[in-house]
Symmetry: C2
Subunit: 230 residues, 2 copies
Amino acid sequence: MRHKDHIDSVLFSVDPVIFSLVDGVLCVLLVKRTVEPYANQWSIPGGRVDKAVCKNLLDGAIIKLKEKTGLTQPYLEQVCTDGGPDMDPRGWSVSSVYMALVRHEDIVLENTNAGALTSWISVREALDLPLAFWHAQFIEAAYQRLRDKLLYTDLPIDLMPTTFTLATLRKAFEAIILQPLHRQSFAKRMLDAGILIDTGEKEIAGSRPAAKYRRANIPKPYFFPRALVL
Amino acid sequence: MRHKDHIDSVLFSVDPVIFSLVDGVLCVLLVKRTVEPYANQWSIPGGRVDKAVCKNLLDGAIIKLKEKTGLTQPYLEQVCTDGGPDMDPRGWSVSSVYMALVRHEDIVLENTNAGALTSWISVREALDLPLAFWHAQFIEAAYQRLRDKLLYTDLPIDLMPTTFTLATLRKAFEAIILQPLHRQSFAKRMLDAGILIDTGEKEIAGSRPAAKYRRANIPKPYFFPRALVL
DNA sequence: TCAATAGTGTCTCTAAGACACTATAAG
DNA sequence: CTTATAGTGTCTTAGAGACACTATTGA
């Protein structure tokens, strides 16, 4: 019996757009599909939720992320939900899109589901690829959300190791908005906000050593009183 | 055949939380359910989308709103999506929550679906009622979204008639955040932003006549450069 | 020494917040 | 006149943006 025989039900999936910085470039984790529909095309590593296990959608997204990356505590936020008769040839479908911020160094891609080719692909390239389902618009929506929140939150800290310098943090911001930020103003904004704690460690990189910070133990994300003006 | 026999499909609905100001109080439109489950309990006027008609979820929300209120161009924004095995006794369900801002004067409640009792209920009261499904948390989420965006956008203008005074606009803001705003600062914020156009009309209310404004023809919503600090 | 990057001090600017004051109506 | 509400002018403040300057390392 096909799904469309059910007047009230739809095919449902959860699609986490997983962002990370790879060599200073903002990337998303994509999987090459092995089965129809869209076999051999890149897609967001999402899919059906295990209805026996999930009590709500956040559960589903957390479990999905654990399956695909092994991570248990990443930053995770719902971005949007969309669907319709044309999203999946198998029938009327709905998908909830989440955005996750992770460190790719914490992930061993071999842990992922059997044999599927999983790869970090820059957002720029990803949006040029032919992607499965409505995944291109989902990645665009998640990227847009990330860029927007960048202007008034400290979200990119979730792409950093536990300790980091102001320079690397700034480069993370710049990798997302794709434009340079004023070095001193950026540092003042971060330090004045009181969200960073100086660990006392220094990072030596061929010139004056830079202080290494960790994020203060405050709720995520931190909201700055004013947005950056670009 | 029951829905749960379908391993991949879920029951899906769209639930628009419809806000309006009634006598200066922020209210939501609720419907008393006539059928099980949750018969005789108040609920958001949502439900299943017509899969034959909707090409995507926004379509579904627009159609739903048209059915229930007759309105075709209200402010409409997706708030969140949630679901699980316990949301609806009929099976694993997912619901997408939208927020709509309307003028209750533009709606004739008799237009609504046959015989169902439809009523404007203040947000405060609504959240105290026993509501169907997860509608209490959905209304809370939509209200939270509205309060948040109030601080840095001009969203409440969508609750106003086409022309309005600064005093009535300020009262709309105050009805949402439930605290007074500084009269002169509020006026300066609005006028400096250049989003209001003086129509030349005056509203006489027993003292000095107040100028009546309409919203400039700019994209909705307008984002103020800084948030209100409460 | 110099080059490179880190960090500090200070100025400007914008817009929010607060307050004093004037303006225009009804009674 | 008084009272009530509308509207204007000005000061303060916080924080972003920009720039000059000093500090600390390696080569």
